[in-house]
Assembly symmetry: C2
Homo-oligomer: 470 residues x 2
């Protein structure tokens, strides 16, 4: 035996400046533009039991009957313990795909199971599609604001993200067409258009039928892929269901992303991608390299859950529950938010997007709100370029009515303090948006955009730790 | 309402050449070097019940008592259904980290829980570390042969992979030092050295204590990170346990990757990274973008499983089981493989690496073996440069003794047919390696290396579909 350094057998002293320098030179270029999603950062704070969090995108899993979980798992144990604990195919089990086909059929789609890959949640679906299609500098188009959890994905692949304004009918297709023309003039072809057409996260708006048809038509004409992210499609509280883009297109140019997170459980980490075979093949290769396969145990759970029937009933119960919470939040906003604020009135989904006077920075406001034990997502998290500073995302699915009222009341108070402070300092001034109902979800943010430096992507929105969802 | 294209309501016709052309221009550069791991490709074939697969890296999950799975899940359901189905923190639950600390302590390590991030299996651990550190063209050093599942990861980040030969004592540190000197002369600093020091996959060899000390010393002297992948450390069938590199280094330059896959279950997809805080911070950012968090449900399962105690007893049972299977495979190799073949005799882990005469291509051989309903991993999957053509990885953990004997017998027969054919065509010729015990695991492949084009990375090793593990 040779001389071996004595194992330290003690815990390492933590990071010094020296350490940071030591590793800094080793990081990949992408890490310089990677940033945390605000939701992740908020988790540590919202984990404090006294905080009312309107920040997450958490479904209310407390409605799931414990005896169903126990019964399903007991069946899995009795029938297939060895298989449930073993590796599975990278693309997912056929039985999981059957459940996915059933969910998509409920929204009018009829995918080929061979076009499906099961992913580790909807987030991995976005990641794998981006991994498959995006080189550094490639253009990705999305809505303004966009899903805050998509921002770090696009940044980690160093995409050139272009955000298209929305109004009450979703993404403005006229602006999209102008952007496409502009890109074409520059000789650039966008890799894909990412959209959450139904009950958008964070905007709360829904792409109208007419615009859906136009978007699909544009995709076909320009041969551009559209990535349709549809986690909330079944959570409609009023109005008529609209066909998903995938259904309108038939699956040639629309890549579809789905998830069980909002209709069953996010803790099982089960989502999916539906893509044309040449794209899917690359997605599966990327999936294999990334995590080999999605959890077998949680796939077996979904299989068992669907086998016993009643999954739609559970979704209907969620719809009833969330509809009431949405109404509670809308009423609380009307009661507690000042006249200068506007907000969307979503027909479904989990989120309301509120816009405050331009002189309010919701990042600063969050710090104040946290002192009042309430949290929301600052709007900036939904932009790559620093816009959204005077807006916020409010979630109404994860907390009960009483907490919604109390939470909105607390936020309303800190906003009013800001408004009063501003008016005391600048008497006579007022926001240009006196109406209660937002016309354009990002009208204010959009106007503000030209004044904002576009190099702001590396900065964390909130200097805290931990996560969950969006 | 406006004119909307009629939903097709039929399944799309599948890929034509036209389709392939349509999407080809949209793929990211990385997809041109991404390839499937051979294991993935083998899954479809090995899923046929009549095939004896020595190809996977599957633990024997049939030994897990169904009543334990049922009991643990019932407890989780009774105590915490809502939490178990909800999102969790990106870095994993503290309780999961406590289990990880317990596992690492059993191998003599004492990590700070704050240095741990829970990952979606050990594969994601490799992916996230590579994502954090590697830009296209960056040098990554690993063993020759290396874990076949790491090859697609390194390729997907477009790393410049350099493989260092092993012998019976693991990676040859003299060759590593020569490579480092060569790189230094070129002004290139490798981003990390990836190694499976104990019961290497696929080589089956273990890095000696003296070399462990030297490797850690080199890492410290050159300030190079070592990524220690240790899925099998606790599966030792004979000999004395050796200290992990992480223990020797204390965690300054060694990033440690672990997994519950081989000591409990791969189907729960739970692995982990231990890294210095500046690196960990980036890994967590990457994790958040990739899949938000690891399954809460499977983390709760591990927590419950560890809480009831007895996890070490289960590992001991696996050790007894696999020791017997290793011995069965070694005996079968001696009986059925021709004198021209050599193989490693692992002290632990799941794999034996066999080297055949240079004129045998194990890719071709696999096609013949599959006709005899037996599968293995062709050695080429463990190289980035086309080497390993006359070698194979054999797994002894996933099948019983009878199947091991039968499987090795079948492979032996197709090898002997090849040998007899060769000798009939070229009488008097024979392989240069008559001994039974391989001196260097890749001695033959190493010599062959200079004759092999290095541009072979894009080719699939086996033109089939589906997956599991490595």
């Amino acid at each position: 035996m040779t001389e071996v350094p004595q194992p330290p057998h003690k815990r390492r002293a933590h990071t010094s400046t020296r350490d940071l320098e030591r590793y800094a030179g080793l990081f990949a270029e992408r890490t310089t533009v990677m940033r945390s999603s605000a939701m992740r950062d908020l988790m540590a704070v919202t984990a404090r039991p006294e905080v009312i969090s309107l920040a997450g995108g958490l479904p209310d899993t407390s409605t799931f009957p414990p005896e169903r979980l126990a019964a399903q798992m007991s069946k899995i144990a009795a029938q297939s313990t060895a298989a449930a604990l073993q590796y599975g195919p990278t693309e997912g089990f056929d039985e999981t795909k059957d459940c996915i086909v059933e969910v998509m059929a409920a929204e009018g789609m009829l995918p080929d199971p061979d076009d499906i890959v099961v992913t580790t949640g909807g987030q991995q679906a976005i990641d794998l599609v981006t991994k498959t299609l995006v080189d550094p500098g490639d253009v990705v188009i999305c809505e303004a604001p966009t899903y805050p959890g998509a921002v770090p994905v696009f940044c980690s692949y160093q995409a050139d993200v272009r955000q298209v304004e929305m109004d009450g009918d979703g993404m403005r297709i006229d602006l999209l067409e102008a952007l496409l023309a502009e890109l074409k003039a520059e000789g650039r072809r966008p890799k894909f258009i990412y959209t959450v057409p139904s009950f958008q996260n964070p905007g709360g708006v829904t792409l109208s039928l007419e615009r859906r048809a136009r978007l699909v038509e544009i995709a076909r004409r320009h041969e551009i892929l559209v990535v349709e992210d549809n986690p909330y499609g079944m959570l409609r509280y009023e109005g008529e269901a609209l066909p998903p883009l995938y259904q309108l297109d038939g699956g040639d140019f629309v890549i579809y992303l789905g998830t069980f997170s909002k209709i069953l459980s996010p803790g099982i980490r089960l989502g999916w991608v539906v893509a044309p075979p040449p794209v899917l093949e690359k997605v599966v290769l990327g999936k294999g390299a990334t995590d080999l396969c999605t959890s077998t145990l949680t796939q077996f759970f979904v299989r068992q859950y669907f086998a016993e029937g009643g999954w739609k009933r559970y979704v209907e119960d969620l719809v009833d529950l969330y509809r009431g919470r949405r109404d509670t939040m809308l009423a609380a906003l009307a009661e507690h938010f000042p006249a200068e604020a506007t907000w969307t009135e979503p027909e479904g989904g989990l989120f309301i997007w509120a816009t405050l006077p331009e002189y309010i920075d919701t990042g600063d406001l969050l710090a104040k709100a946290l002192r009042s034990d309430v949290a929301f997502v600052p709007g900036q998290a939904a932009y790559v370029d620093g816009r959204g500073k005077n807006s916020m995302r409010l979630n109404f699915s994860g907390v009960d009515d009483e907490e919604i009222r109390e939470g909105i009341g607390r936020i309303g108070r800190v906003i009013r303090e800001q408004v009063e402070l501003y008016e005391a300092l600048a008497p006579g001034s007022s926001s240009g948006a006196p109406g209660r109902e937002a016309e354009g979800v990002t009208a204010d943010a959009g106007r503000e955009a030209e004044d904002v430096p576009v190099e702001d992507v590396a900065g964390n929105v909130v200097p805290l730790r931990k996560e969950a969802n969006g």
